[in-house]
């Protein structure tokens, strides 16, 4: 559910400095930006902050917008995804409670958000299970899944948003689906398998 792209005239007026046009753009895309940020960050406060940051960046750089390269929403979405990933990286900085460390004394790779997403959204049955399983998928794969199945983007646009190649975007989606299937098939086993797979990927990458 994404906003339409019929705001070329509004964008043109906003570039000329029309405050009313800028406000119209902001109010037209605010909800969509917040929702996408929430799906990526799983925290309402972070999502609101990041969405606001993305709008600040976009309005400060309106002169760089090129309508021929894509819609205003497509540009805003790219900025938003980048900000969300930066936000998530900053979450991983140390200051981890001793209670959170695992048996090996290591901090979790993807720390839990400050608010429990299951408490915020109202999901039942299979959707709740899928939502819980999505929280355990690796961040890169989860981002790709959200862009593919929520935004409905082709792999080329997912690649633009994530800063990777189209093949890498396709691979991330495939890995995300495989992780989800394992988690949903046998939750305990799938969880242990995915945790060890992510740890081995992280150690191989470092």
């Amino acid at each position: 559910m994404t906003p339409g792209s019929s705001d070329a005239e509004t964008v043109a007026r906003a570039i000329d400095g029309d405050d009313a046009a800028q406000r119209a753009l902001y109010e037209a895309h605010h909800a969509a930006a917040f929702r996408l940020a929430y799906l990526l960050l799983r925290d309402t406060y972070d999502a609101e902050e990041v969405a606001q940051d993305a709008f600040v960046y976009v309005f400060r750089n309106l002169h760089r917008y090129d309508a021929e390269r894509g819609s205003f929403w497509a540009w805003l979405r790219t900025v938003l995804v980048s900000r969300c990933r930066n936000k998530r990286r900053r979450r991983r900085l140390p200051l981890v409670s001793l209670d959170v460390l695992d048996a090996n004394g290591r901090a979790p790779a993807d720390p839990a958000p400050t608010s429990d997403p299951a408490d915020v959204v109202e999901l039942r049955g299979t959707q709740r299970a899928v939502w819980q399983a999505l929280q355990d998928v690796s961040p890169g794969a989860r981002d790709a899944l959200i862009l593919r199945y929520y935004e409905g983007l082709p792999y080329a646009q997912i690649a633009d948003a994530l800063g990777c190649s189209a093949d890498a975007a396709r691979a991330r989606v495939a890995h995300g689906k495989r992780q989800l299937r394992r988690l949903l098939t046998a939750p305990e086993e799938g969880m242990a398998r995915e945790t060890s797979a992510q740890a081995s990927e992280a150690s191989a990458g470092s």
Binding site: M1, Y26, L39, Q52, V130, I146, H175, K177, R181
Partner: protein
């Protein structure tokens, strides 16, 4: 590929859009792999429905346009100050570069110097000279002419004679 089952990651990547020739052929006769692909198709639809439901039910905060405007205004003020500072810094840097590069470029730089302190010639040394050296070393003094109406030119080192007082 037709004799061996593809890896699960390959089946997971099968979106149904562009299945490679080998994979499509394998799926035609392999029920097991078709079942896996069907699982993934179901998973895709569930993921899409779940994400839609989560996005629809999360409470969206009200737009904070005025807070956004304040941040944009503050940013414009910072940019103006930054431009002024960088302009001043550029001018200062250019002046420093000109002054430091002037000897290399041969550009004349006039520097006002103070006039040298006045140097006075030492007073002529006067010593008592006696004997036959007196004529050689003494400062020559022209003789005063007797009866010659033409007054002698006053030498540079002697004051002209004082004219006599008429009674």
């Amino acid at each position: 590929m037709s004799e061996l089952h593809p890896q699960e990651i390959e089946l997971a990547g099968h979106d149904g859009e562009d299945a490679g020739g080998d994979l499509a052929q394998h799926l035609r006769w392999c029920a097991r792999c078709r079942s896996v692909v069907a699982d993934y198709a179901w998973l895709e639809s569930e993921v899409a429905a779940t994400l839609d439901a989560a996005a629809d039910t999360v409470p969206v905060p009200r737009p904070r346009w005025h807070a956004l405007q304040q941040r944009l205004s503050a940013g414009r003020r910072r940019e103006r100050v930054g431009r002024r500072v960088s302009a001043l810094a550029s001018v200062a840097l250019a002046c420093c570069l000109m002054l430091s590069a002037s000897p290399v470029l041969g550009v004349g730089v006039s520097v006002r110097t103070l006039p040298p302190a006045a140097v006075f010639a030492p007073a002529p040394h006067t010593a008592s000279v006696t004997g036959e050296h007196a004529a050689l070393l003494a400062t020559p003094t022209p003789a005063i002419p007797s009866g010659d109406s033409t007054p002698a030119a006053t030498p540079a080192f002697m004051l002209p004679p004082t004219p006599p007082q008429l009674q």
